[in-house]
């Protein structure tokens, strides 16, 4: 079940909201937990037990980790390491076993040895996200940055809360621990959640899905014959597709969280207006970069070591970040590519102060970022380099002969043209500030009504698009 599906919108969500709000406030966590486990088991029935059992194990180990007076530092640390090993082992097994076995078999075949017989393991949905959340909990409790979970149910709720379970944002435990115990349910927050959810839905269904049609077609072509104009068109479409897809999903997650009284941190902040890679990672998948900084980069030494070591740490963190995104060498390369430019930023002491903005820096950063997306989108490393080659082949004859209508529709062109409007043009205020203004008494009724009408319009148009995409009639049946 995904948020941008008719089943979620018109079956799961309305019933969940009704049950949630008719539940007395002190028991709403239980309703949220039941809904979240139903949500997860609907999509991944085989893995819900993995999630529950590993969460229970985390909780009971955290009872040792948090008790500073009862247990020695050594024992607490051992419990922490043990818990981390369990979580990382589960994560590495499900996410990377297929990859490592595949690579090992390639190595064996080089020496003409028999491959290992291996049945591919299915990847549990959301494992990358909830593993990081669980690690966040364990470390925060160890460090004393967060309150311990008041019950195993509340902890499982933190892990399995459906708005952010599948695709983030990665919610650090210390950001929500207090909200798990006590949060404010009010209609202003609910209304802001509705607006945010609808924005995300529109981004995903109306923009990302349309751009994806072109990106998919281009990346499915033969890279040796595709003209560079088509390659750039496909890459641009992909760049905006991935942004709207991911940020749209985050918007929906944040919106749903608000409907339940949770305030999650922002995950995207117009990353394509960045003047440097450093700024890009403060605007793109903010929850991941926060997590990486707090739980990986800083423990490795961060900036407090020698310059060479800090560059290495940065590069290592991004290599791992790339690998986190996908079990494939092209993702690792993508991570390394970003790590390289981040290190370069540090070396050149690039100014990341947003007041020193420059269109040239913005364009250059955008250009380099989208080149990086080639490695993210292509199937493997070889394909990535082939595609890169096609980007810079520049054959006008091939471009003139190419039929662009086969890869992009008029609607696709329209979406591509308006994408910068929604992705890149700086607003006079951030979304949060704008809505914070909405919550004040100076906001007139008209603004709320306008926003509600726009929300309903987005919901309606998105529903129309979803209904149509699922209706594929045949002219005549042939059986």
């Amino acid at each position: 079940m995904i948020f941008s599906s008719l089943f979620f919108l018109y079956a799961f969500l309305p019933f969940f909201l009704i049950f949630y709000y008719i539940t007395p406030e002190k028991h709403r966590n239980k309703t949220a937990l039941a809904g979240s486990l139903l949500f997860y088991s609907w999509g991944a029935p085989k893995f819900v037990l993995v999630l529950i059992i590993s969460s229970i194990s985390d909780y009971y180990l955290s009872q040792i980790i948090c008790k500073t007076s009862e247990y020695s530092h050594k024992k607490r640390k051992s419990a922490l390491i043990f818990a981390l090993v369990i979580n990382l082992s589960v994560f590495l097994y499900f996410k990377y076993a297929n990859f490592f076995v595949g690579e090992f078999n390639s190595l064996l075949s080089l020496f003409k040895l028999d491959s290992i017989i291996w049945k591919e393991i299915a990847l549990p949905i959301g494992i990358s996200f909830f593993t990081f959340q669980k690690i966040s909990f364990l470390i925060d409790v160890y460090r004393g940055n967060a309150l311990k979970a008041s019950s195993v149910f509340d902890y499982i709720l933190y892990v399995a809360l459906f708005p952010q379970l599948i695709a983030g944002p990665i919610v650090r435990y210390h950001d929500v621990d207090k909200q798990l115990k006590q949060r404010n349910h009010n209609t202003e927050l609910f209304f802001s959640g509705v607006w945010r959810f609808c924005q995300g839905l529109g981004k995903k269904v109306l923009l990302a899905n349309t751009l994806a049609l072109t990106a998919d077609k281009v990346f499915a072509l033969d890279y040796s014959t595709i003209p560079s104009t088509a390659a750039w068109l496909g890459l641009l479409c992909y760049a905006f597709q991935i942004y709207f897809d991911f940020s749209g999903y985050s918007d929906m997650a944040i919106g749903l969280g608000r409907m339940m009284g949770f305030k999650f941190l922002e995950n995207f902040n117009r990353p394509y207006i960045s003047n440097s890679f450093t700024e890009f990672w403060r605007r793109w998948h903010i929850s991941l970069s926060n997590w990486m900084r707090e739980y990986l980069y800083i423990p490795l030494g961060g900036n407090r070591t020698s310059k060479a070591r800090s560059y290495l740490n940065l590069w290592l963190v991004f290599l791992l970040s790339g690998f986190w995104h996908g079990a494939s060498w092209n993702f690792v390369f993508w991570g390394g590519y970003h790590g390289f430019f981040l290190s370069l930023d540090k070396l050149l002491k690039a100014k990341t102060n947003s007041s020193n903005r420059s269109v040239y820096k913005q364009l250059l950063t955008f250009f380099l970022v989208i080149i990086g997306w080639v490695f993210f989108r292509a199937v493997d490393l070889n394909s990535s380099f082939s595609f890169l080659k096609s980007l810079f082949s520049f054959s006008s004859r091939e471009s003139l002969q190419f039929n662009f209508s086969e890869i992009i529709s008029n609607r696709g062109y329209f979406c591509l043209l308006i994408s910068p409007l929604f992705a890149m043009i700086p607003l006079s205020a951030s979304k949060e500030q704008f809505f914070a203004e909405m919550r004040g008494s100076t906001i007139t009724y008209l603004n709320k009504i306008t926003i509600f009408i726009i929300s309903v319009l987005i919901l309606f148009l998105s529903s129309c698009a979803l209904a149509n995409s699922g209706y594929n009639p045949f002219i005549y049946f042939r059986f």
Partner: protein
């Protein structure tokens, strides 16, 4: 605060609207064109839950029955069409819009641009089987005729979108031309519709395909029937009726399958795909020497237009159509395809009885799939005749 509460409540209510519509049908549902596979009630067992089949079927069924679904689909299609001149259609069977809103199935355009290959060595055994069928049918004192149905794309290439017109290489020898040669070599009796249509176009502006349809219109079908009668009459030992074209009228009325592609667009306002339609007015010659035959058609949806044209005209005594060699449609009797068909259900006819009954067997193949189609019918029919004639 009160406004936010009110708006929030309205939002939750809106999420329930489709379910309320489904239950109480507050607004009359609108029909959607096209054939779809309907979803059964999903069986709930532990294993169907674990492997996700139950969830998938529940979701599919829920969505197929969702209130306002047809309205949403039509709205999306209309927005795409009106704002972007874009057609939303099944990605497995895309519809392409050409000049002046002419509609084409993509598969016909693809064949026009890049025809399928005809490997003589591969196809000859099958065509030899077709020839044997013809021989055995004639030995049984019946008539046999292949009808090569024309593709709209090759008949009206000037109405294709520019990118398609420009893509076909000059001097392309397509599968239709190669197959024709093989048919002539094997002396298989056939009606060459693509040639008939090209010749007709040289002398008349009357359209043989409707703007919004994928098949020949009734005028095109009539020309083919006339040619078919010329081919089969000499094979029979009795006289069959002739079809005389009296006149052709022109209007904007859609008959039969004239706007099947247009309807499949599922628009609110679909008039732009309906253009001039040409309707033949004809009579069937009858006298005491003429015996209306019993005809067996085998083919795809092109055969439906032929059948619809001649049913009730008095040309034949009865007509059986083997649709995709799987479903039987008969006149008189079950003259149209059933609304619901289980794709897994076996064929519902007795071939031996049908072959025995028929005076004329018409075997329709579209030029885009030439030379091989319905070869399983050929194999089975030859076996029936062999058994009878041995």
């Amino acid at each position: 605060m009160r406004l936010s509460r009110f708006i929030s409540a309205i939002f939750i209510l809106l999420l329930f609207f489709p379910q309320i519509q489904r239950k109480f049908k507050i607004i009359q549902p609108t029909e959607l064109a096209g054939s779809i596979i309907k979803h059964k009630n999903p069986p709930f067992t532990f294993s169907t839950w674990l492997n996700g089949e139950f969830q998938r079927l529940v979701e599919a069924r829920f969505i197929s029955k969702l209130g306002f679904r047809s309205h949403m689909i039509k709205t999306e299609n209309q927005l795409n069409f009106s704002l972007f001149r874009q057609i939303s259609a099944n990605p497995q069977e895309p519809i392409i819009m050409g000049e002046d809103n002419w509609l084409f199935e993509e598969s016909y355009i693809k064949n026009y641009i890049s025809p399928i290959d005809v490997n003589r060595k591969h196809v000859m055994p099958y065509l030899t089987g077709l020839k044997e069928l013809q021989t055995r049918v004639r030995q049984a004192n019946k008539a046999f005729c292949v009808v090569i149905s024309a593709s709209k794309a090759s008949t009206y290439p000037e109405m294709l979108p520019e990118w398609a017109r420009n893509k076909r290489k000059k001097n392309t020898v397509d599968n239709y031309q190669k197959s024709k040669k093989l048919f002539q070599e094997l002396d298989i009796i056939f009606v060459d519709t693509p040639k008939i249509f090209k010749d007709y176009r040289k002398q008349s502006d009357n359209l043989l395909f409707a703007k919004g349809g994928t098949h020949w219109n009734y005028l095109g079908a009539l020309l083919i029937v006339q040619e078919m009668i010329k081919k089969v009459s000499p094979q029979l030992d009795f006289s069959i009726p002739e079809i005389i074209l009296d006149s052709v009228s022109k209007d904007n009325k859609v008959t039969g399958t004239d706007n099947d592609l247009g309807e499949l667009l599922n628009l609110w306002l679909d008039q732009s795909t309906i253009g001039d339609n040409f309707h033949p007015h004809f009579h069937v010659t009858k006298n005491h020497n003429i015996k209306p035959p019993k005809v067996l058609f085998i083919g795809c949806s092109f055969v439906l237009t032929l059948s619809e044209l001649l049913d009730n005209s008095g040309f034949y005594q009865s007509r059986d159509t083997l649709y995709y060699n799987k479903r039987l449609i008969s006149f008189p009797g079950k003259t149209t395809l059933p609304e619901k068909i289980d794709p897994l259900s076996p064929p519902d006819f007795n071939l031996e009885e049908l072959l025995e009954k028929a005076d004329i067997i018409v075997f329709e193949i579209n030029e885009t799939v030439l030379p091989l189609a319905w070869m399983d019918f050929v194999r089975d029919a030859v076996n029936v005749f062999r058994k009878k004639q041995s």
